[in-house]
């Protein structure tokens, strides 16, 4: 039985406190008027402001008529309003990226867990309690994401422009999608997805704990059936969730393999976190039966799914780059123009780094190596979510500053607190799983 160590608890509280501070600073320093927004941009980037000044002068020299001047002013003010919205979005987008990133880790672990149950894997039952501990975060994480979505629907922010009736009125493309993208249906879907995932998590956990005390395998078999059923539900809802929560921040753009792409991201992050939590608990002597072959298997999954993620990332990128259809390619044009380093940096972090580090069979058994690769993979997939949300919400006004880091710290603290609290509620090793002996002697 694991007891939540005080140091870890205090550490998670410190992370949460620092995070709240960072998030608050982000919201306080967001501009509320156009003048403030302009001042922020000017103070951040003198060169940029100077460039604007020169442009304005050029516009005056070129346009002699008053009409042209008026037009220029009107254009300028709409540009300023746009800038204001982008800067106002910044703390919201930072919060949303952080919230979704940690939520998606728990969801990825849940998918991995269901696959292990449905596949009747012989090596992993020793790790079921670790996975169940991590998926406990689904409840608070899911609720927080849902609350952010509700606040968006209530027009507290401009993350999803299709929620703005004024925008929809002037946009025929969005009007065509109103049947799917309308606030009521959006929230109903979100509630349905979250309800289904959380239900499976809680029910499977209950059956898993009952199995420990049972006299037969009835709970285990029931859990197998529910897991197989959940995977069907998950595949459909995960795909729709990625359209709703991520793709719809850019309602003019669409991609068919987007759901898989988001899935690969959450799956590999989830497996990485399983490996890291397992290594942590093992280093405390709490998982005596977990040997380096288990770690080896998890590292193999990290390696393989990293490549799978890259495959999907590249397939999406290359197909759009190759055909270069204007309505699709803007997605990548803005990312390559304004997000060059995070956009290509994440390919290095999520592909090159794990491929070269985790290819060697011996390295997959070395704990610090797996943890090091895991940290880079997690940072890379944070950047992946960052690259999906930020360009359509804050545009070229992005930065990784206090609000972004604050949100990551807050959710990291909450994640650690909730996961280890859940780990402390049950013995770390299942007692009466039919595969537990095989798992205990697992050797690769």
């Amino acid at each position: 039985m694991y007891t939540f160590s005080n140091r870890l608890k205090i550490g998670s509280f410190i992370l949460m406190a620092l995070g709240v501070l960072g998030i608050a600073i982000g919201f306080i320093s967001a501009p509320s008027t156009v003048e403030e927004a302009k001042a922020i941009v000017a103070s951040h980037d003198d060169g940029h402001g100077g460039g604007h000044g020169a442009e304005a002068g050029h516009g005056e020299a070129a346009g002699h008529s008053a009409a042209a001047n008026a037009h220029g002013e009107e254009h300028d003010s709409s540009h300023d309003e746009h800038l204001l919205h982008q800067l106002q979005n910044k703390p919201w987008a930072a919060l949303y990226v952080g919230a979704f990133f940690f939520f998606m880790i728990a969801l990825g672990v849940l998918a991995f867990y269901a696959i292990q149950r449905a596949a009747q894997a012989g090596w992993s039952p020793l790790l079921f309690r670790v996975m169940e501990g991590i998926t406990a975060y689904l409840v608070p994480g899911g609720i927080i994401v849902f609350v952010i979505l509700v606040l968006s629907v209530m027009h507290m922010n401009h993350l999803f422009i299709w929620m703005d009736a004024d925008v929809v009125a002037h946009d025929e493309l969005i009007q065509g999608k109103v049947g799917y993208l309308n606030p009521t249906f959006f929230l109903i879907r979100a509630a349905l997805f979250l309800g289904g995932w959380i239900f499976y998590r809680e029910y499977s956990r209950k059956l898993s704990l009952q199995q420990d005390e049972a006299q037969d395998d009835a709970n285990f078999k029931l859990n197998f059936r529910w897991s197989a059923g959940f995977l069907v539900f998950y595949l459909v809802t995960e795909s729709m969730m990625s359209w709703d929560w991520i793709m719809s921040v850019d309602p003019h753009w669409f991609s068919t393999l987007f759901g898989w792409y988001v899935f690969a991201s959450m799956f590999v992050s989830g497996i990485t976190v399983i490996a890291m939590v397992t290594i942590y608990l093992k280093s405390k002597g709490l998982l005596p039966d977990v040997n380096d072959s288990h770690i080896h298997d998890l590292a193999k999954f990290m390696f393989g799914i990293s490549i799978f993620w890259t495959y999907l990332w590249f397939s999406q990128f290359m197909l759009i780059w190759y055909s270069n259809i204007p309505e699709e390619v803007t997605y990548y044009v803005t990312r390559i123009a304004d997000y060059r380093l995070p956009f290509f940096g994440m390919v290095a972090m999520n592909f090159l780094f794990p491929v070269l580090l985790l290819m060697n069979s011996d390295y997959k058994r070395i704990n610090w190596f797996v943890v090091l690769a895991g940290i880079v993979i997690l940072a890379g997939h944070y950047l992946d979510i960052f690259n999906m949300i930020m360009p359509s919400t804050v545009g070229d006004q992005w930065s990784i500053g206090i609000p972004e880091i604050g949100a990551v710290l807050f959710f990291a603290g909450l994640f650690i607190f909730w996961v280890f609290k859940a780990l402390a509620t049950a013995p770390l090793q299942p007692k009466r799983n039919p595969f537990i002996e095989e798992s205990r002697h697992f050797h690769y």
Binding site: F314, F317, M318, W321, Y322, N324, M359, S361
Partner: protein, 176 residues
């Protein structure tokens, strides 16, 4: 040079594994073990060095990647940089996404094929190669352990009989 060999036959892989461990513990050198199928853990029990085939495959893959990049850079960018459907042939990097499928396939092609050929060369396998099998039964249901005799025939026979051998033969063999 002719030397004296002792052949011990087993009809179960578990018995074989125990016999191998026993012979190793008695500090005899096992010349060879013939099996009808891979016996899990036999190489470890015999103390064989791990294979380095994977390392060669990695290097062959790097060669394949280099071949792909040099080839396409020369053909598409340097030799005749045509405008084909508006693809940017100004530099390799600008047109790289279009080359990635070929880079990937050639990497896999080189890694796989050259590694297989390396395996054939290292394990001396080719068509019309004369089979080195000492007894046809070892391809069906018998396991055979071959140990060289250095004037300790009696002692070795006794050890092998104890280890569960079903048949023991001593023979002259011309070493290759």
């Amino acid at each position: 040079m002719a030397s004296k060999m002792i052949h011990a036959y087993y009809n179960d892989d578990d018995v074989l594994m125990h016999a191998v461990k026993k012979v190793k513990a008695a500090k005899h050198h096992i010349e060879e073990v013939y099996c009808p199928f891979p016996v899990h853990g036999l190489d470890k029990a015999m103390g064989l060095a791990p294979t380095r085939l994977a390392i060669t495959a990695f290097m062959y893959g790097c060669v394949g990647l280099t071949v792909a990049i040099t080839m396409m850079n020369y053909i598409m960018i340097e030799d005749w940089p045509q405008d084909i459907g508006g693809k940017p042939s100004f530099s390799y990097l600008e047109n790289m996404p279009a080359f990635v499928p070929i880079m990937f396939e050639l990497t896999v092609f080189f890694a796989a094929h050259l590694m297989v050929i390396t395996f054939y060369l290292r394990s001396r396998l080719w068509p019309f190669k004369e089979a080195e099998n000492p007894d046809v039964r070892t391809t069906d249901d018998h396991f055979l352990m071959e140990i060289e005799v250095h004037g300790n025939e009696m002692e070795l026979t006794e050890l092998l009989m104890d280890s569960g051998a079903v048949e023991i033969n001593v023979m002259e063999k011309n070493s290759h």
